[in-house]
């Protein structure tokens, strides 16, 4: 079977698995959002299955893995009757229509995604974090049918990359078994679907020309683009963190608790990918409590909603770190030893905050890393503040999420000194960009201009 057919088949299975999950949570979305989200969720479901087998000490043979994936897909579609009805409705209402002025942006985005996907397919995993961690474990898991394999008998004093949650390892195992010697191509699935999701999310509030331009700005963040074909944890982490916040804010709009639970699940996936996301999830709690307080639904309800949002992440952390890394891996890893011993001294927080601003954001190096994206965000924010002199609830919410990352990373650097500036923080900041993008999509000036263009267009 050719590579393209295999990718297609895997993507279809991912869609079915993800769609089942969306259906279980009764999430109602427009087709462009739903299809891309379903595939993204399917990738997450894939990433969990070899891990579950490993926890149960079931050998990671190709048969076991693919049977478990099929079983999980079937289980997630247990409400297949309602799912099928929704699919039929979706099919009957879906009109894939592209407007002529979307073509330049869409063509450019497809070209850039293609270039990235090819590079992702062609080259073997590159970052040292991967070749001394998830990738080498995946490679030997294929040979030895377990993730707890001979890699752990090697001299590992120069790396802690083997002590990362097994998200990448699992996906690498699956894709290597599927016939891709270097695995990796799952990242292109994530990138393509995320771009589609973002584009459709932006078109909910702004004109398609603005949406195309903003998505292009997002794709052209040089450092982030590099990680669309170099596999590491941060791109996927940014995707699921963003999705979680997006659904949390949908809950703020529609007050349906299933959306809140779904946001919690997405945050759990983000935590499974990068364990320190748990702290960022906790930093979102004030927004939830504030929402309930402001709507006079009570602090208690706010705390219950916060639990819905955070508890899945805590569970993901306990299973992937406390249980798996501490109890299953043959080599000891002192996680508590990674935490700052002198928490009374706040100076590392301010030093890191200052370094992030002076080195990663407001510098020539920063422009090299992130292009003009942050400046575009600041420019639009200032314009909105100066011209409109007020921010509405939705923009404030997105700005809060931006603030969570902006202050969250100095906090993480203060709590976990090993989280360095030039690698972990630089890549961790990827999470801020989709949030900034959604702020821009709700910027009242852009929304106003969008409405004027749309009105003129239809006259």
């Amino acid at each position: 079977m050719s590579g393209i057919m295999i990718i297609l088949l895997l993507t279809i299975i991912q869609f079915i698995a993800g769609f089942g999950l969306i259906n279980l949570f009764k999430i109602d979305l427009k087709p462009g959002l739903l299809i891309s989200l379903a595939i993204l969720l399917g990738v997450a479901v894939f990433s969990v299955m070899p891990f579950i087998l490993q926890l149960a000490f079931i050998p990671l043979t190709s048969a076991n893995i693919f049977i478990s994936i099929i079983a999980a897909t079937a289980l997630l579609n247990i409400k297949f009757r309602s799912g099928l009805a929704r699919l039929k409705e979706l099919w009957s209402t879906t009109r894939f229509k592209i407007k002529i002025y979307e073509i330049p942006f869409v063509a450019m985005i497809i070209f850039i995604v293609f270039v990235s996907a090819w590079r992702c397919f062609y080259f073997p995993p590159t970052p040292r974090d991967l070749t001394s961690g998830a990738e080498v474990i995946a490679e030997y898991a294929i040979r030895e049918k377990t993730m707890i394999n001979s890699v752990f008998s090697v001299n590992l004093e120069s790396t802690n990359n083997i002590f990362k949650p097994p998200y990448i390892t699992c996906l690498q195992i699956i894709y290597k078994y599927a016939g891709f010697a270097f695995g990796q191509i799952w990242l292109s699935t994530i990138v393509a679907c995320f771009i589609i999701f973002l584009y459709h999310a932006l078109t909910l509030t702004i004109h398609r020309i603005f949406a195309g331009l903003l998505v292009l700005f997002f794709m052209a963040i040089p450092e982030m683009f590099a990680y669309t074909f170099m596999v590491l944890f941060d791109y996927s982490n940014a995707v699921f963190f963003f999705l979680s916040v997006w659904f949390l804010y949908l809950f703020f709009q529609n007050q349906q608790r299933n959306y809140l639970s779904f946001a919690g699940l997405l945050m759990a996936i983000a935590t499974y990918i990068r364990s320190e996301t748990l702290i960022l999830a906790c930093l979102m709690v004030p927004a939830i409590v504030w929402y309930h307080w402001k709507n006079k639904t009570g602090i208690v309800k706010g705390l219950i909603s916060s639990a819905f949002f955070v508890v899945p992440s805590v569970l993901a952390y306990i299973i992937s770190v406390s249980i798996y890394i501490n109890r299953y891996l043959p080599v000891q890893y002192n996680i508590q030893g990674q935490v700052n011993k002198n928490l009374g001294d706040l100076s590392p927080f301010f030093t890191r905050f200052s370094d992030i601003n002076s080195q990663l954001i407001f510098s020539d190096t920063g422009v090299g890393y992130y292009g003009y994206f942050i400046y575009l965000f600041i420019g639009l924010l200032l314009l909105e503040l100066v011209i409109k002199r007020r921010l509405n609830n939705t923009t404030r919410n997105w700005l809060y999420a931006v603030l969570v990352i902006y202050l969250g990373f100095p906090l993480l650097g203060y709590l976990l000194p090993l989280l360095d500036l030039n690698n972990s923080t630089k890549r961790g900041l990827f999470k801020i960009f989709p949030l900034m993008l959604l702020y821009m999509a709700h910027n009242s000036l852009l929304v106003g201009w969008s409405q004027r263009i749309a009105k003129w267009e239809m006259k």
Partner: protein, 196 residues
């Protein structure tokens, strides 16, 4: 009138960004997609192209496109003709991979690749001896070649049963027959900083 209503579904009805619903509309409520006047569509198309040109006219974007996207596209045209896995690995890992494979090859020929633990020097040691070799860390070495290696600064270094040194501008492979010689080699390697 109907067209006007439909147009508003693309955005919101107030200049304030009241979020549009991301939920799918029930089939009964579906309206025909908003149609754009052909001439206005053309004007917007020209606007899109202009926006794209301005976007790629900005220095960081232009630099990114010229230095990344276009060279990658040129690479693709060549790469699609050469899908050999080993060449792809070599293209990416370069001499690190070659070095690991060559060292492993030495032991594979002797049929002992899966039995040895090889003490490898830091990169700085090779550089100081005139060899331009970057030594991958043991986990990466194992990934490249399946050979278990160990750094000199490891407490387990004395368990190595082979070691590699530089001699006469080349590599010297020695089996450990004399424990003292191994300890001396460890001490010599430890004078150099390990770089990853």
């Amino acid at each position: 009138m109907k067209k006007k209503k439909t147009a508003r579904t693309a955005t919101t009805s107030s200049p304030q960004p009241v979020p549009a619903s991301p939920a799918a509309k029930p089939a009964a409520r579906q309206t025909a997609p908003a149609a754009t006047n052909g001439f206005k569509g053309f004007i917007l198309l020209v606007t899109s192209i202009m926006a794209l040109l301005i976007f790629f006219g900005l220095t960081p974007n232009k630099f990114w496109f010229d230095q990344r996207i276009m060279p990658y596209w040129e690479d693709f045209k060549e790469q699609k003709l050469n899908l050999d896995l080993e060449e792809r690995k070599l293209a990416r890992y370069q001499t690190d991979y070659l070095f690991a494979k060559n060292v492993a090859g030495f032991f594979e020929k002797r049929g002992s690749a899966d039995k040895v633990l090889v003490l490898v020097p830091p990169t700085d040691y090779f550089n100081a001896h005139g060899l331009n070799i970057h030594v991958p860390e043991p986990a990466v070495f194992y990934y490249f070649s399946g050979l278990k290696t160990i750094w000199a600064n490891s407490p387990e270094a004395s368990k190595a049963n082979w070691y590699i040194t530089a001699k006469g501008g080349g590599l010297m492979f020695d089996t450990v027959t004399n424990k003292q010689a191994l300890l001396d080699t460890i001490a010599a390697f430890n004078k150099y900083k390990i770089s990853l």
